[in-house]
């Protein structure tokens, strides 16, 4: 904390949760909530029990089935992934034995952990939350201190209700200026990574602020903070405001009555002091950002939709040059190729980055009255059962299916390849997910990350394009 007494939002949450400072230089941090999922949670619980430890307070531990569970309509415990049902069954029996609230395969509130955690009001502003999943930083979007951990740390969290953590530094990313129409939080975070690299946030908790951030919807803030891990940040955080209060009012596990009043009063104190000192500060002019799409196999290998696939020779550093070379080989692209000339075989709308109702509405608005290009496979996977129900109530499912998309049950689905479903080798997927790593969506599958509207527009066009360009080009033809 700064000597002046001025502190950042992160400092405040950190000190509010400090049980004690350890001789080692670490802090013993108190955890308010723990969320698990069937892929890593099952192992953590099993290992915890076999080591003879018990869950300290099961009432604040939650678990969902999202990673391995199938997303085909009418799914059960069987999965396309060989041995996938072992994870499901183990998770069910371990959570039952430990009295942990499970959002099971057939639960009406099931969904991707980072989507249902705020949707249920499990995570709240000012709380600490950990989950053995790297995208837990998503919850910084509502002003929670939330971060991803490994399985051993999850065992520690379950057994002790705390974690031993060395305090990261403070970074502030100020985004001013108005995002242009059609530019989303996804484009903003890809722009940030393009500017400062996948390593730009290493060692920091990143607070996003500025006029462009205040204007973002709560769901867009989740998208932004979701990819803080792709920026290598410990986590990200945004000060909660009235939008966040409105978001939580009435949620299942949110406080009610007088507790709600107390909560709101406290949440209004959750902001960095005016004179708080940050170890690093970055500024972004939001009005200069254009729709972005990745061309390579790392989120920093990214360009504006109007730009070109770079020539590896144009990178000064040898390792960047080699990385670009390898990425182009994997992706089957040529240097100098216009991004807007890249034809796609598939389009995926889903994942903890972009599968919330606002994402689906935005994508549906692009798709409405159009049809996906011949030979392109389109898949839409709502982030939760609640999102799915709401989308169906609004008729979005019909818009998607009439346009030729598959409409799925909720889960992580083809965001990653667990050995089950994939778009296939050498298939080029425009995807609203967060990772374009080699093999992430399947062996030799080629991933291009973009916003849901860009994914929707590209599915219609058959090549990578923005919604704006799609509409303009149709107007020209007509």
């Amino acid at each position: 904390m700064a000597i002046s007494g001025a502190s950042t939002l992160f400092d405040k949450l950190w000190s509010d949760h400090t049980v004690c400072d350890l001789d080692s230089g670490e802090t013993l941090l108190y955890l308010d909530r723990i969320f698990l999922h069937e892929r890593t949670g099952s192992i953590a619980l099993q290992s915890l029990h076999s080591a003879g430890y018990e869950v300290r307070d099961a009432r604040r531990v939650f678990c969902t089935m999202d990673h391995i569970v199938d997303t085909f309509p009418g799914r059960g415990d069987k999965t396309l992934m060989p041995s996938g049902s072992d994870f499901i069954l183990a998770t069910r029996s371990e959570t039952r034995a430990a009295n942990i609230r499970l959002f099971d395969v057939d639960d009406g509130d099931q969904g991707i952990v980072h989507v249902i955690s705020p949707e249920q009001g499990v995570v709240l502003p000012g709380l600490t939350l950990v989950c053995p999943d790297s995208h837990t930083c998503t919850q910084g979007g509502i002003g929670a201190l939330a971060w991803g951990i490994g399985s051993s740390e999850a065992e520690h969290a379950l057994a002790t209700g705390t974690l031993r953590v060395r305090k990261p530094k403070n970074m502030r990313v100020i985004v001013d200026g108005q995002l242009r129409p059609g530019v989303t939080a996804k484009d903003l975070v890809l722009h940030l990574i393009a500017q400062f690299g996948t390593n730009g946030g290493a060692g920091y908790t990143v607070e996003f602020c500025g006029s462009a951030i205040s204007q973002l919807s709560v769901e867009a803030r989740f998208t932004l903070c979701n990819m803080a891990v792709e920026f290598s940040a410990f986590t990200a955080i945004i000060a909660p405001d009235e939008k966040v209060e409105a978001y939580f009012a009435g949620r299942d596990f949110a406080p009610k009555g007088e507790h709600w009043e107390d909560a709101c009063r406290y949440w209004r104190t959750l902001r960095s002091d005016d004179d708080a000192v940050f170890d690093r500060e970055l500024r972004i002019d939001g009005s200069l950002i254009e729709p972005m799409v990745t061309w390579g196999t790392s989120p920093e290998q990214v360009a504006g939709l109007r730009q070109f696939v770079p020539d590896p020779a144009s990178f000064a550093e040898l390792h960047r040059r080699e990385a670009a070379q390898r990425a182009l080989e994997y992706q089957g692209l040529q240097p100098g190729q216009a991004i807007s000339d890249i034809a796609v075989n598939a389009a995926f709308i889903g994942s903890c980055t972009n599968s919330r109702i606002s994402d689906l509405r935005a994508a549906a608005a692009v798709v409405q009255g159009r049809h996906i290009a011949p030979g392109v496979r389109g898949v839409v996977v709502p982030g939760s059962r609640r999102v799915k129900r709401e989308a169906e109530r609004e008729g979005l499912d019909r818009i998607f299916t009439e346009a030729g998309f598959e409409w799925r049950d909720s889960g992580c689905s083809m965001c990653f390849y667990a050995g089950g479903e994939t778009f296939g080798e050498y298939q080029r997927v425009i995807s609203s997910t967060n990772r374009n790593f080699e093999g992430r969506q399947g062996p030799n599958t080629r991933t291009h990350l973009a916003s849901p509207t860009t994914v929707a527009a590209s599915a219609i066009a058959g090549y990578i394009t923005s919604a704006e360009t799609l509409v303009n080009s149709e107007a020209l033809i007509a």
């Binding site: 002790t160 390792h319 080699e438």
Partner: protein
């Protein structure tokens, strides 16, 4: 947990940035609810010729006879970035990797290493380049020694100091389980919890409605 005091072994350079945990162990190789049986899946996408196959790709460094018995990896920045899957570390350990020397690590991966007795050593890129060059001259002969007591990496006549967070060093040197260590602070945790629950009742009240895993 296996302590790490000092280790001498063959080092394999894998000079790339951003080697993510999906590359270290692809999801499709995480077949069972277990920390074991993962060594075979280590770097599967690069190590084998075909996805899901087991035919060795002779071009991959760990498959070359010179690097048989590798126990140390040498890489560039942001090693272990991406997914939090601890399977990456379990796979490395099962394969026989005791230490990773890189110019930077993914934060979650770094902690996962410490929790599993694998030493993550951070050196600058120039040192990594020099170390890799030395190793490549004769990998079997130019073995690398990493001493966690003195915090030195040595290869032949080359020597580099490194630093590691004191707590991580202590846990590794002694092979300690941090859960047992933290449970010694149980009283402090209980007291903190009581105070916090009183000050922030709103945060816990909704959870009190739960009796034995059944929510009202």
């Amino acid at each position: 947990m296996k302590p790490f005091v000092t280790h001498t072994g063959i080092a394999a350079p894998l000079l790339r940035r951003n080697i993510d945990t999906d590359a270290i162990i692809p999801s499709r190789e995480m077949k069972r609810v277990s920390k074991r049986g993962l060594g075979e899946g280590l770097f599967a996408g690069w190590r084998y010729t075909l996805p899901g196959g087991r035919e060795l790709n002779p071009a991959f460094v760990l498959n070359q006879p010179d690097y048989a018995g590798t126990s140390i990896l040498v890489a560039l920045d942001n090693f272990g970035c991406g997914s939090s899957r601890e399977h990456a570390v379990w796979a490395l350990a099962e394969y026989g990797i005791r230490a990773v020397v890189a110019s930077g690590f993914g934060a979650i991966f770094h902690t996962n290493c410490i929790r599993n007795g694998i030493l993550p050593v951070r050196l600058d890129e120039a040192s990594i380049a020099a170390l890799a060059e030395k190793v490549q001259q004769d990998p079997q002969k130019n073995q690398v020694t990493i001493d966690l007591q003195t915090c030195l990496v040595q290869c032949g006549d080359l020597l580099w100091p490194f630093s590691l967070d004191e707590s991580a060093r202590y846990l590794l040197l002694n092979g300690l389980d941090p859960i047992a260590l933290t449970l010694q602070q149980r009283r402090a945790i209980d007291v903190f919890e009581q105070v916090r629950r009183k000050e922030h009742t709103w945060a816990y009240a909704p959870m009190e409605d739960c009796v034995e895993g059944v929510w009202s």
